[in-house]
Symmetry: C2
Subunit: 491 residues, 2 copies
């Protein structure tokens, strides 16, 4: 059911019941069938051609080149999960053979991962393809064998409908249950709440604001049967600028970061919003270069009016905080175009004003000038969980402060050295997640093949005759998987 | 700090602050150091010798042979996690090499699992060793690199203190931070609530009642920073008795199940509490044999007065439910000793009375006599998430109903064919978990090496110089781990 108009609350029950019925069939598909389905979705998205790109441009103000890139990323993700299914070891198959002579006798026990059930996905406004209707949450959930219901993002409804139509074509082409994927449109927050509370819903994926992500988490936790919610809720992505690196490369680092702060009008969850350094001549050089690079960035349109309004409001709150000084462009934004904002504050004033830790979504960064490395660490540790944290440092810097990388792993899911956090590579080693409030569960990632682990649970079979076992667990290993055998990994 | 008296609420803050400080050092230990620590705990528990066994016998009414077996299981678990640490692949190390010529350039990204932080453990009354102070939750959390605070179970405080003293000796022997493990004793539920709510607590493991496990889950979800809670909350472990199996083996199956229902006075979370079959002559034979086997089981003491009282109350509620008929021993229990109870009910009456789905903890089972296989499935599917579900069937039975095993995987974490659910083998393939309300998160297991996954999160390093990486991710692979390399598993 691809609904092209507002879904009423009673209809939500029907949608989720249909999703459960489809799940009961869809979960029986074999890895090849599921892989073909994901590949076909990628094909159908590409087949939408120019119409998709033009529609999204009109809805999001994002330039064509960016959308082409993001479409490529989306189809790459789908194909990555297809490859994962064909390779197969993601099911973590494990076999412990019986030992009848042991006292007590050891039974034959075999374990693998199975899908949780219907997954409800809430996509992001800032990634109309890669984190939306056929984005990473949907692709990983479909790969797991779960059915999916996407709540269309109101900021790009037509894009979402087009993508949903591509998925519907792939379902039809692959002869899968029609309700394996469903697309609903809502009128306000009640639709999302109803989807999360509906008894058939087994898990939730969300990318967006802290308030939205936390609310869905709270609804899910308060259910009679609580369900897992993976909400990714943004980040200030703090960057530590070490002294030797600044002395050698202040200008280069400033240029690099001016690009990262303003990339895509700053509308990335990995946008570096806090820059932390030690007050010094080299930090002054960094600051000058950053200001001059930022001042050269042309004004540009944000995704939609709501994001622009929030940016103006939140940056104004930050700039009016005690001790905060604007360094660039404070008043240059207008009702249509946005210019980046850079400000600075002392470490002491940052620590004294809790609100400065809040994300200002958009091309904004706050330079925190600390008295010494002790204060740098204090500032860094004072911010809550992050998707990323970066350190710009030389070998000398790290030799002087070997504790910094270990500290960084406590703060974020991804630790970068001498790079910028924008640009999330889609690969097996990627962690796009992190301690709360970056996400509601730091044990998972939203990017990379491990994203599938959010939607699966282990099941073991005890004393099951070989011919009744799933292929992944049969003795002759028909799928040729790497498996754990009698406690020995990856035989 | 091994506190041997009630811990006040202000002291909880101190305990958790100490746990966090210890964690910051303990997490830096290498796999060998952690493995030696776990092995030393096992050694120190064995060194407690007779005193431990005698103390626990006095506190729990459990017989010596059972306690010796459970002590063996506990030390086996500790040594299993030590072996896991030495083998090393549990950290899921993954390396994606840089591809500088790609557009955009691909950075070097390397991922592994790191510990969450201080874990609070609430042990079970029915496993004073294996699911308590140094049980699976503690062993897996310490293996992960997390520090641990155990809230002693009030039903075996002295046992818990002895085990805590053994852990303290191991900490001292291994030169680890003194607060890597702490033991607190509480006065009522407030201590547990305070431990879960304390800001330094990173995760919670609980084994016990539904009301207790759900309450802790709710406190954790309502925190400003929610934390994961793995509560294991019991199960009725439904057993489906198929027709051909009964015709061939009614008496053998009845004897087998009489043993399982009454093992350890029925005080196991895997105790089979619901037996589902089709009304027939062979089911009558099963019933007669079950009654006669059950009537031969001698009366025995339960763990403590509270469990006996709950057993008497809950079995009385079940027996007074419309359509339920007692088949054995209804009134034979007294204030000291408990006898097993078997009752029967029709499928229709079972479905009409929601309370019959509730666990009656103890040597109790309800035989549900269904009209046909359709009603069997309806009854089976009506019970909520389970730790285990079992099917007794022949090849003919499974050929006639190939859908049953797939159905079973939706109900439980462990699916058994032709066996009894009591007896949880400790091995890599074991899943001791399951859909809610068996646990609060079906994506994890409490038994087997994967139990460690509850207490860890992934972190990736981007562009980190080799010498600054953890050993697990260094290019030369000094730990000789099986790793994912450039998306290829287990190289």
């Amino acid at each position: 059911m691809s609904l092209s108009s507002i879904t009423s609350l009673p209809e939500i029950d029907l949608v989720m019941e249909q999703s459960m019925q489809a799940f009961l069939d869809y979960k029986k598909t074999n890895p090849k069938e599921r892989a073909s389905f994901l590949e076909r979705i990628a094909f159908e998205i590409e087949a939408l051609g120019e119409e998709l790109i033009r529609t999204t441009q009109a809805e999001t103000n994002l330039p064509e080149a960016r959308l082409l890139g993001e479409r490529g990323r989306t189809t790459t993700q789908l194909r990555m999960f297809a490859a994962m299914l064909l390779e197969g070891s993601w099911v973590e198959a494990s076999i412990d053979h019986a030992i009848p002579e042991r006292v007590p006798a050891k039974p034959d026990i075999r374990k693998m991962l199975v899908p949780l059930g219907p997954v409800v996905v809430f996509g992001a406004s800032n990634f109309p393809y890669a984190y939306s209707t056929a984005g990473g949450d949907t692709a990983s959930a479909l790969a797991s064998g779960s059915s999916v219901v996407v709540k269309a993002h109101p900021a790009h409804i037509k894009t979402s409908e087009l993508i949903a139509s591509a998925i519907a074509k792939a379902i039809s082409f692959c002869n899968l249950p029609a309700h394996t994927f469903q697309h609903v449109e809502g009128n306000g927050f009640e639709t999302g709440k109803a989807l999360v509370q509906q008894s058939n819903t087994a898990a939730v994926g969300f990318t967006g604001s802290f308030s939205g992500g936390r609310a869905l988490y709270d609804y899910a936790a308060a259910r009679p049967r609580p369900i897992p919610v993976f909400s990714e809720m943004g980040s200030t992505n703090p960057v530590v600028l070490l002294q030797d690196a600044l002395e050698l490369n202040a200008e280069v680092i400033a240029t690099q970061y001016a690009g990262s702060i303003t990339l895509g009008v700053g509308q990335f969850c990995t946008n570096p919003g806090l820059l932390i350094g030690i007050k010094s001549a080299s930090l002054d050089r960094f600051k000058s270069s950053l200001i001059s690079a930022i001042n050269q960035v042309p004004a540009a349109k944000m995704l939609h009016q709501g994001i622009l309004t929030a940016y103006q409001k939140n940056s104004a709150i930050a700039l009016s905080t005690n001790g905060v000084h604007s360094l660039a462009n404070e008043n240059a934004s207008n009702e249509i175009n946005t210019t980046p904002i850079i400000a600075n504050v002392s470490g002491a004033d940052f620590l004294a004003n809790e609100n400065l830790k809040d994300e200002v979504f958009g091309p904004y960064a706050l330079l925190i000038e600390c008295a010494d490395i002790v204060e740098v660490k204090k500032v860094w540790n004072s911010v809550s969980g992050q998707l990323t944290t970066s350190i710009m440092g030389t070998d000398n810097d790290f030799a002087a402060h070997p504790e910094l990388i270990e500290m960084a792993t406590s703060i974020a899911g991804r630790v970068l050295l001498n790079g910028v956090p924008t640009g999330v590579d889609v690969c097996a080693s990627m962690v796009h997640g992190g301690p709360y409030p970056a996400t509601t569960d730091s044990r998972f990632t939203a990017v990379g093949i491990n994203a599938v682990k959010r939607w699966v649970r282990p099941v073991c079979y005890q004393n099951c005759p070989d011919h009744l076992l799933p292929d992944a667990l049969k003795e002759i290993n028909p799928l040729q998987l790497k498996r754990m055998i009698d406690g020995n990994p990856y035989q």
